[in-house]
């Protein structure tokens, strides 16, 4: 009798974990990735709450106003990170700057991923003529010297459309090539499987096959790639703003703040003006890269961590 009860207890149906649950468990165990995630969440929260907490941070909460009486003050109890050459509080600008840098980075990433996935999925799924046309187009975009064309395009469109969106559109339009290639190669491998054949044979439309069957199977690759692109986009935004070809000068962004380091006297004698943005850019990029690595590990069914 006793033995039969143990058997029924053992038989109690135990649900195995879904792929997403396994991935989440793996990710939560990855220390570097978790620290990075918290850091990014913190930076995001601080940046987007900037307008509400600015008056708590410093006596000069207005980041667009020049204060002649408070120029280049060293860090003190009033201005925790000092003020810049126009008398604007560095800490407040850092918060506001994060808003712009993260917004530009995120929007450009969404643009790149959407367009790249669309082109890659269409080229990979249909093959033949559509594939060669789309891939020639991709090669064409990939062969452009990226920075050169971004700068030229940005100069042309500047003033026609609002500055921020010009930048997002231009860097988005010129950097989807890599994603398209990646998605195409994944789709090419995936569409050889029998379940695609089965779906097609019971009369699923190409649209349905791509969205319901193909994309869910390549989505993990796209997520990992998207994370890394997010980091790249933040770098590009700040590099362009640093050179003076990105976000309009009046708008605080991390790159714009760092561009004050172009003046030798600021670079040499007033490190509190340029060091905070430099450090926060580096830490953000580092964290996003760690998150990307963590996701890559977590979403890879072959990795055993």
């Amino acid at each position: 009798m006793a033995s039969s009860t143990t058997i029924t207890q053992q038989k109690k149906p135990e649900r195995s974990l879904s792929p997403w649950q396994i991935a989440r468990k793996k990710y939560l165990r990855n220390k570097m990735a978790m620290i990075s995630t918290f850091f990014i969440i913190l930076v995001t929260l601080m940046s987007f709450s900037a307008p509400f907490i600015a008056h708590l941070l410093s006596p000069l909460p207005d980041v667009s106003k020049v204060n002649i009486g408070a120029m280049s003050i060293e860090p003190n109890s009033d201005h925790l990170l000092g003020t810049d050459k126009s008398g604007r509080d560095v800490l407040t600008r850092l918060f506001y700057g994060g808003r712009i840098s993260l917004l530009v980075g995120f929007s450009a990433t969404v643009l790149v991923i959407t367009f790249g996935t669309l082109v890659g999925a269409l080229a990979g799924f249909f093959g033949g003529f559509i594939d060669s046309i789309l891939m020639r187009f991709t090669d064409f975009v990939l062969n452009f010297p990226f920075l050169v064309f971004v700068i030229v395009l940005n100069t042309i469109l500047f003033g026609i459309v609002d500055g921020l969106w010009v930048l997002i559109m231009v860097i988005g339009a010129l950097s989807w090539g890599g994603v398209a290639r990646l998605v195409r190669s994944k789709v090419l491998a995936e569409k050889e499987n029998e379940y695609i054949m089965a779906a097609l044979s019971i009369g699923c439309s190409p649209f349905k096959v791509i969205t319901k069957h193909l994309l869910p199977n390549v989505v993990s690759t796209i997520i990992v790639q998207g994370t890394l692109i997010f980091a790249t986009m933040i770098v590009i935004e700040s590099a362009l703003s640093y050179l003076g070809f990105g976000v309009p000068q009046a708008t605080p962004s991390w790159g714009n703040m760092l561009s004050s380091a172009n003046e030798p006297d600021v670079l040499q004698g007033k490190p509190w003006i340029w060091m905070p943005p430099a450090i926060i850019i580096t830490l953000t990029i580092l964290s996003i890269n760690f998150i990307g690595e963590g996701l890559k590990d977590a979403l890879n069914p072959k990795s055993l961590r």
Partner: protein, 321 residues
Amino acid sequence: MLKYSIRRLLGMIPMLILISIVVFSLAKLMPGDSLSGEIDPLNTNPEYIAEMREKLGYNDPLPVQYFNWITGFVQGDFGKSTRFKIPVFDLIMEKVPNTLLLGVTALVITYIMAFMMGMYSGRRPYTLGDNAIAGFNYIMLAIPSFVAAVFAIYIFAFQLNWFPFAGSVDILVERGSFEYYVSRMHHVLLPALVLGAMSTASYTQFLRNDIIENSRKDFVRTARAKGTPIKKIYNVHILRNSIIPLVTFLGFDFAALIGGAIITETIFTYPGIGQLFLESVTSRDYPTLMALTMLLSFLTLLGNLLADILYGVVDPRIRLD
């Protein structure tokens, strides 16, 4: 091989024509034109301006203008810089040696650093030294080049006073003398270090992984069984095989160096092609801008082609056709 290279070179022509059309259209879309650079700036008579405009072909239909520009361009006539009032060709030629010196020095630095770190890590994987190098590389990959440049200037030029922070040569030294070349090297070293450090991380990790992979192969076991010293196995047998894939990186580096040079040269106010490009954008110097965009596109294409060809050269198993 030769056939493939020639076919690829010819394949670049339609690409270049497409790029030239894009460049021309972009230059025409930009506000203003380069007329003011071609005429006598003191003569403000509207009739004179209109006459010169007609004479210089600014009133021609766009396709005709494009055709005139591109025929001149392929013959080496890049037009006249509106800012410096000298032929663009001479202007570019003046800056090319500086950029070339910067690029080559950066490459040499990349290779030296990557070899030392990669060989050390590959030989002693998963040790403290290897992990330290991996951590260092991780940070180098994450830190954007312009942030690295700013920190480099602050630390090495201002705090330690080891390097000058701007320019390509000391103005006081006599051109052609020994001091002149020393001064040039001294000026190029810091920007080259920043530019070279960009690709060092990926080179190092690649070399490390390749050495580890190769050290498990049969030819290494054979060599060990025959009693070859470990040092010789690593420095001769394995290294020879691991260098090969690294060569293919050279082509991609070409393109990366172009983008990197624009940023690095501007930050270090180093008078090269990249800085000239940015100046031509800000000062609306269209002939220079167009010529440089074409030149940089051409170099990027050439770099990609080089990467493909080198791939086939170093690894005969890859068939190019």
